[in-house]
């Protein structure tokens, strides 16, 4: 985070601080934010922290987290081709399986139900234009 502070400060100097204090330029406020970020990062890094211990103590299954994240990325990448209903169905099914939903019928019913329900709610009721993709003819 300290590095981000340095980068923000550097960029703010390039934008220009203006004539301080009469007429601050576009880089003045980001510069102050960069300095604050840098100072806070230095202060935080100098304090003893128990958070690493907390992280080590947590019995987590990192695989599930990565799997869910990958499903989110797939939702974005596949959307233009497959459309909302199909992609949401696939992704929610994949997530359900990843987090331990056993069998096939249960996750499938959940996936179809949630994708159709959110489609009806948002696209039909709230007029949010959700991508149709392959199912263009079925979902007008």
């Amino acid at each position: 985070m300290g590095m981000l502070g340095v980068l923000v400060l550097g960029a703010s100097l390039r934008m220009g601080w203006g004539s301080i204090p009469d007429e601050p330029g576009p880089g003045f406020y980001p510069g102050l934010v960069g300095i604050a970020l840098l100072v806070a990062s230095v202060m935080a890094s100098r304090r003893p922290s128990s958070s690493q211990e907390k992280a080590a103590d947590q019995a987590t299954t990192g695989f599930s987290v990565l799997y869910v994240l990958a499903a989110y990325v797939a939702w974005i990448c596949l959307m233009p081709w497959f459309g909302y209903v199909l992609v949401t169905c696939l992704v929610s099914f994949a997530i359900a399986k990843a987090v331990g939903f056993r069998g096939w019928i249960g996750p499938l019913v959940l996936a179809v139900g949630i994708s159709l329900l959110t489609y009806l709610l948002l696209d039909v009721w709230f007029f949010v234009d959700l991508p149709r993709g392959l199912l263009e003819g079925i979902f007008p």
Binding site: P26, Y72, P107
Partner: protein, 503 residues
């Protein structure tokens, strides 16, 4: 118009079918959010923003407030029945609430909490009715230096109260302030941190960041944990009657909790959570039955629950009167109001009185609806609370994804949301509070505008601040708070336990 006439006209506005529907939907969803240990009020309110657009500003505001307020009610149900706090402000309720349930007094605990929350909400609304216009009128005399000083004070208090380490709080706050600078500088027109593509020219939207930090990160946390089955205590309607002894014991804590909660709501920070700890501490200190605390004391359940409901109402005073949100849900409400081109602040009461009074009246209705809703449906809510993560995670994931997309129909926002979610998950694991990021993002542009105006007003002479008593008062308060926080910092362990507060 007198106050009563304005309230009656507000009541008529609130009784319009669309506003009643928004009220019902908001409190129902809020109760579900409070019950489910996944989404918090801020994320749920963010998801409701696109829905609120369809019904106009007042209905949108009513719906968002209903979600926030309902979440406070819902959180108590799971705390008492299954020992799982639906959100941070219900952590304290678990201590004695679950013990009451184990002793067969779950129904009485739920009924007393519902009645106490209703009373706290009603008293809080009366306070809002009185204080918000008064604060608004006082704020009419605020110039940019006063607003800037108020923001500095808010930042100091927020970074002190949220999380275990103030340096981490400041770091997260400045990260939010930095995110708020992304986009075209409104004065000079210079693009800042946009890295070329036009997609960042409008800046980073609050909704994907809030949904990511609070919703997606919670989903990732749930996905990474081993899951176990949870059994809820069954409660029948006829069991919902507290005996006269319990009812008498609940009166004092309800009134004290209401006052503590409302006052906590007026200061920056995770007011509902802090108010519950303060209320519990006070009740334990003054109770003649101190030994009962931790084993099912009525006072330990009713006081904190009354406090967190009153704190939500108290938080609305600075939001509506000053246009400054002191907590993430309030920040989302501000975003919702701006989405409808409504700017809360001192002029709200004179320029849009129907909006304010309609909102006040609808909150009275929401409070009563929650009471009616919570008692008979408590068994259903308890069963919903035990929804296994294998169902909860896919459902919440889809709601987050589609919610992040639907605000601007932008896949870029979904990328921002996923990145925020991953960042929130990692921040949480390493003890960094995420709430200040949202506050910083929302208040950053306001802080910058007031900083620029202040430097111009002072004509290069910072000494002129000495001629502005309000500025001086806020700055002195900030210093005093910082010094006091430094002294008690090492003894605030109980608060640190809920560092992931107010989501």
């Amino acid at each position: 118009l007198s106050g009563i006439e304005q309230f009656i006209s507000g009541l008529l506005v609130a009784l319009a079918p669309v506003n009643l529907f928004a009220c019902l939907l908001g409190v129902l969803l809020g109760t579900l959010v409070g019950v489910l240990p996944g989404l918090g009020p801020a994320a749920a309110m963010s998801l409701m923003l696109p829905f609120s657009v369809k019904y106009g500003p007042l209905a949108g505001l009513i719906m968002l407030a209903g979600v926030w307020y309902g979440a406070m009610y819902g959180g108590s149900t799971t705390s008492i029945l299954v020992n799982i706090p639906g959100e941070a402000a219900s952590v304290v309720t678990c201590i004695d609430g679950y013990q009451m349930a184990r002793r067969g007094r779950a129904g009485a605990a739920l009924a007393l909490v519902a009645l106490g929350s209703w009373m706290a909400g009603t008293l809080g609304m009366a306070g809002l009715q009185f204080f918000a216009p008064v604060v608004g009128r006082a704020a009419l005399y605020f110039g940019p230096p006063e607003y800037l000083a108020l923001l500095v004070f808010s930042f100091v208090v927020l970074s002190t109260l949220v999380g275990q380490d103030q340096a981490k709080g400041v770091m997260m706050l400045t990260l939010g302030l930095f995110l708020g600078t992304i986009g075209i500088d409104p004065i000079s027109g210079v693009p800042r941190f946009t890295f070329g593509p036009t997609v960042l020219m409008d800046g980073i939207d609050l909704v994907p960041v809030a949904v990511g930090l609070f919703g997606i990160s919670e989903v990732l946390r749930l996905a990474g944990q081993p899951h176990g089955a949870t059994q809820a205590a069954r409660v029948r309607l006829r069991e919902l009657y507290p005996n006269s002894h319990e009812a008498r014991r609940a009166i004092g804590p309800t009134l004290r909790g209401s006052l503590i909660g409302f006052l906590c709501g007026l200061i920056p920070g995770p007011a509902p959570t802090i108010s519950t700890f303060m209320s519990y501490g006070l009740e334990k200190r003054i109770s003649p039955r101190r030994d009962e605390f931790g084993h099912g004391a009525v006072e330990g359940v009713v006081g904190p629950e009354s406090a967190n409901n009153a704190a939500v109402i108290g938080s609305l005073v600075p939001l509506l009167a000053l246009g400054i949100p002191f907590s993430p849900p309030a920040a989302v409400m501000l975003a919702g109001l701006r989405l409808h081109n409504v700017n809360p602040g001192p002029l709200l009461f004179s320029q849009a009185p129907q909006m304010f009074w309609g909102f006040v009246a609808s909150m009275y209705l929401a409070n009563t609806v929650l009471l009616v809703l919570n008692l008979p449906l408590v068994g259903i809510f308890a069963r919903i609370a035990t929804t296994p993560p294998r169902i909860l995670i896919p459902v919440v994931s889809v709601l987050c994804l589609v919610g992040g997309y639907s605000v601007r129909c932008s896949m870029f926002d979904v990328w921002v949301m996923i990145a925020s979610g991953l960042a929130g998950y990692l921040f949480d694991r390493y003890g960094f509070p995420v709430a200040p990021v949202v506050i910083g993002l929302v208040l950053g542009p306001t802080a910058e505008a007031n900083l620029r105006l202040t430097t111009q007003l002072l004509h290069g002479n910072p000494g002129e601040i000495l001629h502005r008593p309000v500025v001086l008062a806020f700055l002195v308060l900030a210093v005093v708070f910082q010094v006091a926080a430094g002294r008690v910092g090492r003894t605030k362990k109980p608060m640190a336990a809920t560092s992931k507060v107010e989501v």
